[in-house]
Symmetry: C3
Subunit: 303 residues, 3 copies
């Protein structure tokens, strides 16, 4: 296992670094956990802003946690509270999730909530990740991801939990569940959501190789539903929402539940075991060493 | 709920009416439940005609219940009897289902069997719908739908229960499970059949939005297998049947059962509950009000 | 049943013979069970050769059992032993399976192990088929099928049990589960593997019609992942392997198990019953008669 994890570090990081260097070569913001550490100081400002249009019943949830909308425990807690408020607000029928940040929708789970933390903290963090997925995948609202930047790992999970995905038509933006590239494993409910979206075989190859798809590739395999020029992502999401809201809510909601209930129930029935699995995996000395080396490498690179 | 249903009426009907007006603008017979009421008087004539070619072992089942082959209790009863006769006739190995009517294969379930009827009647009606699906989806014969016109809702269900679908290459003809547009919900076995045909994600979006696909769109998503010019639908079905009948019956039948048994068993195990669900939903005051308003609107439109 | 099997013989054989004659017309080696009988005499030579490159950790398994790499009990036993050795060799991380024979990858199960044999022999044979699939589908190694020739029935099963399929871009080569054409039935775990690869609907039509797909067709439905010129099949497999081995083994293995475990467990839980089903089917007088007539017809044809 220790050996496997050393391999994991070696292959995983070189894989990620080559991606990051690619990002930097093109002058883009690096979606790095290191950067994520830096920004945790300004925790006073809200990580999420919600605009609800009372006339249409459509809320836009802006993710605005620089530099890369990392899904930290704090972020996820704020996300869950915002979503629950909207869910209980009868005047709100549709939700669009998007990012205020340039070039990134969300970079996924925040490594800082997994590194050097107590098992209790890791457990709380994981429950928050589960909660985000449960709330989005099972929402009674129409949910549209307006993906205006890259969306790896947890960012991809959030996107595929929505009802519809519109992505900026920019081959520099990518989306996918790339966990294996980092030596970690997407849990069964990430996998189930992916299978429900792109089918068994595409999921198998995507998850085993930790593939990130450019937006045209993502459209081709059905990981996103539509590509539009970047400046039209939000307006297209708003127009699309109108079509979805033309369907009677109760009929759409019962149908959505029929399509998704089994997948949701599977996590609900195994939630404790899933949390336990995550905590015992992530708190292993070998994994923590890999995470430390990974973060140090990123810092050195940054310097 | 009442409010949801008023919404359902508002959205559902406007959606359907715009479809109908489109139909009428093009000079086609309107697939309206109102028209269905009119034709119930001539119940003496057979709604289904069967031609069995003894030399080939292939039967053609002509649906000939004007104006739109609505699946009424009477129609479904006649359908089930005809199908059972063919199923037990050892000389019959293949079945082609088609329509004698211009521009419509079948408009789906007959609203007149759901409106103003006793719970007992609604229950009988629903059992007949189940029976139609069970008999077609589980048939030992090779079943080919020769879809020579539009085929919404129950018409789509009948089509996807067959082994193969050939549709007229006419973008004015559409097919799909559009129940949510009317504020009602396709039950789990409609959904399962659709998932088995076009996959989970396409089904999710099709059912939540109640999408009707033009024949080219239907081909693209795999909802039908082949498009041919309208006048060649039946001849192509006959030619295709020859290829299917070249396969040894017992091997094909065991294979078909292996592919479909689980889906069939799910309804068989839940048939009573499914009927109960339908009856208690459709006999609700609010739903009945919606149906009445819907029928009145169609009458007014017609006048 | 006897009648069904006579039909099976009539239709099945004519189907296969037309294929074979097509093969012969193009001057290719006929993938015939008769030929398979002939070659059983030189059983002293190894049917499989393994080259393990210690520097890359990649083994190439050459199937070299002329004329058509039939999956006989002897072949499968040797295959299982070779695979198990590699699986336990920690220096081996990847496996490429290919053929040394011209124009054929593997012609599938050897009829000579099903014809005129005792129930005990048939049972042993079937367990060896199960074992081949269990070992390949569940392998911890990265497995790539380098399909440099036709690959019907059992040859297709072996291919779709791998992680990735590269096929020679030659429309004369075909691949598919064509059992029904011979009047026999692919068991549920062949079907499950096919559904996991190409989805439910494509599997339904492929298995019911016993379809063999040319390599371009196979690529289109996702039955193979990539086509390359014949002389580049092995080199492309080697290059592709490098990409797969860049993923940390433990993360890839856990992910692979998550994708495949349920399908594997289903056979493990029903292995005895599945063997029993096969033996009682294949030892029926009627099936044995069909096999005899089939073999005689092939001999006559050959003569």
């Amino acid at each position: 296992m220790a050996n496997a994890l050393r391999n994991s570090f070696k292959y995983g990081c070189s894989g990620l670094l080559s991606q990051l260097s690619l990002h930097c070569r093109h002058g883009r913001v690096c979606a790095s956990p290191y950067a994520a550490v830096q920004q945790r100081n300004n925790s006073s400002s809200a990580k999420i802003k919600v605009d609800l249009d009372a006339s249409t019943g459509v809320a836009v949830m802006w993710m605005q946690s620089p530099p890369v909308n990392s899904l930290s425990l704090d972020f996820l807690t704020e996300f869950a509270i915002s979503l629950e408020k909207l869910e209980m607000d009868r005047s709100c029928r549709g939700l669009i999730i998007t990012s205020t940040l340039p070039k990134v929708f969300s970079a996924g789970l925040d490594i800082m909530d997994m590194y050097g933390k107590s098992p209790e903290h890791c457990g709380e963090f994981w429950k928050a990740v589960q909660e985000m997925w449960l709330k989005v995948y099972g929402s009674n609202m129409v949910t549209i991801a307006a993906i205006n930047g890259s969306s790896p790992a947890g960012g991809c999970l959030m996107s595929i939990a929505c009802d519809y995905r519109i992505m900026a038509d920019n081959p520099r933006y990518s989306i996918g569940l790339n966990e294996t590239k980092l030596g970690i494993v997407a849990p069964f409910w990430f996998k189930d959501t992916m299978v429900n979206t792109v089918g068994h075989r595409t999921t198998e190859i995507a998850l085993e190789l930790g593939l990130l798809y450019t937006s045209p590739e993502a459209l081709k395999i059905g990981l996103v539903d539509q590509l539009v020029p970047e400046e039209q992502v939000l307006t297209t999401a708003t127009e699309t929402m109108t079509k979805w809201l033309a369907i009677p809510d109760h009929a759409r909601q019962i149908t959505k539940s029929m399509m998704r209930k089994q997948t949701i129930d599977k996590l609900l029935a195994n939630r404790e075991a899933d949390t336990h699995n995550f905590v015992s995996f992530i708190t292993k000395d070998s994994i923590q060493r890999s995470l430390r080396m990974y973060l140090e490498m990123l810092k050195k690179r940054k310097a």
